[in-house]
């Protein structure tokens, strides 16, 4: 049991049309770029059929949980559903930043303990922008790690921050952490 099996299940959900395009987000996605930190959760950013969401204005995770239950995954922990030892949290695309992040997610082949699996991972600039928007202390630490480890392309990051009106939050973050603002957004909304 492990991440390979977890991703196999999620890939099957995508192939079966239970979910749309998906990508790994959060702390596990950050493993692709920076020094890893321990986490209990696997965050999956996921899109749904646009027509059904547009009609009701609501997105329901019901079909996901129903499919998982049918396939033997009905234990919940930390608001996530346990799949092969990982508490998986399905996070529907909820804003333009999420939509752009998912559209530009990178497809990768991962070798985990000798087994290969294909998946998608959010790009570092979108991980930083999302962490900035969420803004918990651990998110801000992660942003500092990305910057310190030079794991983001600064012009790309600045573009994301500007497009999604995160200039003031970015300026405040730089001031608070003593990082020289590489974007020079000066609090532009």
């Amino acid at each position: 049991m492990g991440m390979k099996q977890t991703l196999d299940v999620i890939n099957r959900m995508e192939a079966d049309g239970i979910i749309g395009r998906y990508a790994i987000a959060g702390a596990v996605a950050a493993y692709n770029y920076i020094e890893p930190t321990v986490t209990e959760d696997l965050d999956i950013l996921v899109s749904f059929d646009e027509r059904s969401a547009a009609q009701s204005g609501l997105v329901t995770l019901g079909p996901i949980f129903s499919w998982l239950k049918t396939n033997g995954h009905d234990e919940f922990r930390n608001e996530g559903v346990m799949i092969a030892g990982w508490a998986v949290q399905f996070l529907p695309v909820a804003n333009d930043l999420d939509a752009e992040a998912l559209a530009r997610a990178e497809k990768i082949d991962v070798q985990i303990a000798g087994d290969a699996v294909t998946t998608r991972v959010l790009r570092p600039e979108h991980l930083v922008a999302t962490a900035l928007r969420v803004g918990r202390p651990k998110d801000l630490i992660r942003i500092a790690q990305f910057i310190e480890e030079q794991a983001v392309e600064i012009p790309v990051l600045c573009g994301v921050l500007e497009r999604h009106k995160l200039g003031p939050m970015w300026t405040a973050f730089c001031a608070r952490t003593g990082i020289a603002d590489p974007c020079g957004l000066h609090g532009l909304p």
Partner: protein, 61 residues
Amino acid sequence: MTKTPASSYPDISDILARKAEGRQESKRRSFGEKIAAMEALRERLAPLRLARQQRREPEKS
């Protein structure tokens, strides 16, 4: 009045340098290697997590 002698502390710069080197090595691992390492670490940390949960449960009740 006697002066308190200044404290002397050992030089730990070599330890800090080795730690920094370890972080660099960890960062350079592949995505799959990092996941496998974290899964192994989670297993080793499971008893501590359980103990923390058990400590918290009486606090909640």
